[in-house]
Symmetry: C2
Subunit: 560 residues, 2 copies
Amino acid sequence: MKTSFKSDIEIAQASTMKPIVEIAKKIGLTEDDLELFGKYKAKLSNEVLAKIKTKESGKIILVTSINPTPAGEGKSTVTVGLADAFTRIGKKAMIAMREPSLGPTMGIKGGATGGGYSQVLPMEDINLHFTGDLHAITTANNALAALMDNHLQQGNELNIDQRRIVWKRAVDLNDRALRKVIIGLGGPLQGVPREDGFDITVASEIMAVLCLAADLKDLKLRLSRMVVAYNDKKEPVTVGDLGVEGALTLLLKDAVKPNLVQTIEHTPALIHGGPFANIAHGCNSVIATTAAAKLADYVITEGGFGADLGAEKFLHIKARSAGIKPEAVVVVATIRALKMHGGVPKTELAKENIASLTLGFANLQKHIETIKSFGLPVVVAINKFITDTELEVQTLLEWCRRENVAVALTEVWEKGGAGGIKLAEELLAVIEKEENKFHPLYDLSDSIEQKVRTIVQKVYGGKDVEFSSKAKKQLLDFEKFGWSNLAVCMAKSQYSLSDDPTKLGRPTDFTVTVREFKPSIGAGFIVALTGEVMTMPGLPKKPAALKMDVDENGNAVGLF
Amino acid sequence: MKTSFKSDIEIAQASTMKPIVEIAKKIGLTEDDLELFGKYKAKLSNEVLAKIKTKESGKIILVTSINPTPAGEGKSTVTVGLADAFTRIGKKAMIAMREPSLGPTMGIKGGATGGGYSQVLPMEDINLHFTGDLHAITTANNALAALMDNHLQQGNELNIDQRRIVWKRAVDLNDRALRKVIIGLGGPLQGVPREDGFDITVASEIMAVLCLAADLKDLKLRLSRMVVAYNDKKEPVTVGDLGVEGALTLLLKDAVKPNLVQTIEHTPALIHGGPFANIAHGCNSVIATTAAAKLADYVITEGGFGADLGAEKFLHIKARSAGIKPEAVVVVATIRALKMHGGVPKTELAKENIASLTLGFANLQKHIETIKSFGLPVVVAINKFITDTELEVQTLLEWCRRENVAVALTEVWEKGGAGGIKLAEELLAVIEKEENKFHPLYDLSDSIEQKVRTIVQKVYGGKDVEFSSKAKKQLLDFEKFGWSNLAVCMAKSQYSLSDDPTKLGRPTDFTVTVREFKPSIGAGFIVALTGEVMTMPGLPKKPAALKMDVDENGNAVGLF
């Protein structure tokens, strides 16, 4: 084991990338199929996306995890390392991952691009402006807001009730002072005064819409359905009513094309779209995942947070919408995180603690049961940390064997793809051996209440759901507006299976309270809000920005 | 003469671009010198910018105009057509122009990329997100705002007076409802409540800073000097005090590289930076202009609005800061606009009117005198419109001869470079024949009042300047802060030589009132505000966005 470790950016900057044109060759694409962004990034052209539509699809593997803890799970790292492992054993593999938001990068950390020797490159670019997708989404989001406020100002033909405007503005930054604002001040020439607020861009419905759209045409249709406000009769007013879906689609015409990059080991990766995993579905774009499946035999993709949120939403929302059938699911766990689920505080994690570790298995167990209930083969990936003891690892391995679930120790952070070969082999074995009976746990024709109840009982292991009187009243409206057959997108704490973030492990007998619904009609789901949901993060006392710089050659310094 | 005309976008989309790599070859650059953005756009790499620094500079020609009127002057069109004309007569020519803002595109019009057969391509991309420069500036602008509000929230170590914060947020949109806002509402966890406002991105001081920076190092230095607020002792608080100049430079490290595109006739063009021409200096970046001069023998560049604003600022601010010595200045005029200056209303412009035309010459005359007073050779370009009569054109040509000023009729809108050959030849002649005694009209060591007075008297032809009591008080502070030796940047109506937009032609005997100063310490100038200055435009009743769309192949529709 190494005694000193390089930082992620040191490893990334010491790696040699191949020209993206060469990476594209591996998946049968020529330079003409690409829209280059420098030498190491490219978008897939509309022509190539159309051309590959008729090809047969490869196998899609979903990577998810136990409930996240401050100890870290490394789901993105395992996703990257696993794809490299498939490449090493001679399979044509690709990654389909989310692209990071700039806001958190300026705040606490970046590194939504894997870690150690399992990273996608160029990590500085991907974590900064990348190919401009998020900027295009911010612009489209705010153009819509400006056009709506202009509609108010110019006579309000649609009779929008300015107290019932639900479309917020967005910035791709952590800016708490913009959470609640009043706009339109300064007199009659400066707009109509009203309450407003800003979300971080990844929380914009446009991000969810872009990630669920099948193509440009579907994108426009979804955009036109987005609800921006209610009129004086309390009926929804949509983008289509404002007549600006064409302009928004124009602003997004390039953002909708997936971005091709590479891992440290030169495995091709599509990094595209990154919606929040609470008020949205937390998965990269359908266009990227389906394109990757046309271009490779194995596609490794992931969902946000733990399996109760990310996998549930991948399987119920993204897979259903895109007609995707995953072959198998990887549940990532770490010894450290399982010990936290077993009651160990963060400061004590370096010490061996078999009893707490064993207690923590309950969290993993629930997620395994959930994946199996979807009819899908599952493999547990133990993402190794340097502080893990031999006995701890053996205890987890044995528990998995007793539970009759496939398991593999992975060392992808330290060893790249070589550290993920066991996991890749386990996956090939379960895909070969186990029957795949993938099916959703609820039908779209179920009532909204029933859909929420199914998720709470079958995915979270809860007893029941309570709906606030506001939520109940909203459901009556939704029935009237014809929204009852949409999917449900749960906004719940990622830290617990329940809606109480302090309940680690495997809580039972709990009731989840839905205080409010938020319709995302363009995305095609109704968000069920449980507890407080943060759609605009703040900056810490000492933001990461204070250490950032550029060296004399124009390279990023202090990014992570 | 043609009887039917294609729209700008029809002409643009019917044109065949060459790969940008081929365009780069014309100016001695290889693919390795470029950072490609698709096949037809590229940024110049830091390496090539460093490499060409020691080369000898070509000749820089500035294109300016009479005071703009609603009749249109076509300065950008002449700039593009003139460069094409130079190419046609065998000269190695390049364009250095501003990049457009997205906001006005969604509102009334785009087309900051020339017109007719004198356009830069791909015009749709350039008028939408282009290479993301404006998005990077918006992000840097708003990151700074978020970091400052976070500083307030986290204890306010610098004792910033929240009533004296001068740094505003920005969006690259026309959004009047954001002109005056209150932020930080919602209680102690949501930031410190205060008045705020949004400017359009091109009005951000960061745009001016990026356009005046000599290189990445100078950019960082300028960013660190920007004043964001005043503390409880009324002393300036800068970006450097907040310690975030490194992070802002990181966010701008790619935006600072100039963008290479081409004209319809394949002349190379650097389109980079686009600051407002009222509260900023209205010229494309110094980096682009100086790089173009290293790569070509003739560089055609322009300044915003008429010669009283654009040329004055080019010559006093940009040229001084960058050490640029222009060879000659083109003053663009149209028969239509001169008739408006002579008193003809817009509806009557199609009718021949020699008397009013002759009256309008006075405006052109003043600008010619001004350029000559800078010691520079001048050529008048008559930008032909279809409604101009032969007699009108002859009358203007004769007047120019009587005034002893070089003149050329240009038909670049209709004929591309072929319509600009006369103008190119006139320019070559005056550069050859006339002595260039370029000198600024004021010295930086003059007092701020004196600098303003010099501009008003020598450039506008005014009698005197009045300073409000607020402005006088500010000057005392500036003296204390050591800002008195900065340049002056006038914020004045573009429509008149005076500060009264209704006074067309050549007003005399007027006094200009400076109501307030706005220090732009990073840019290196003090803005003198006369009258109302719009830093956030609004949308019209029927915004252009309503007609925009994307066709089934992903191409822009209805952009202009």
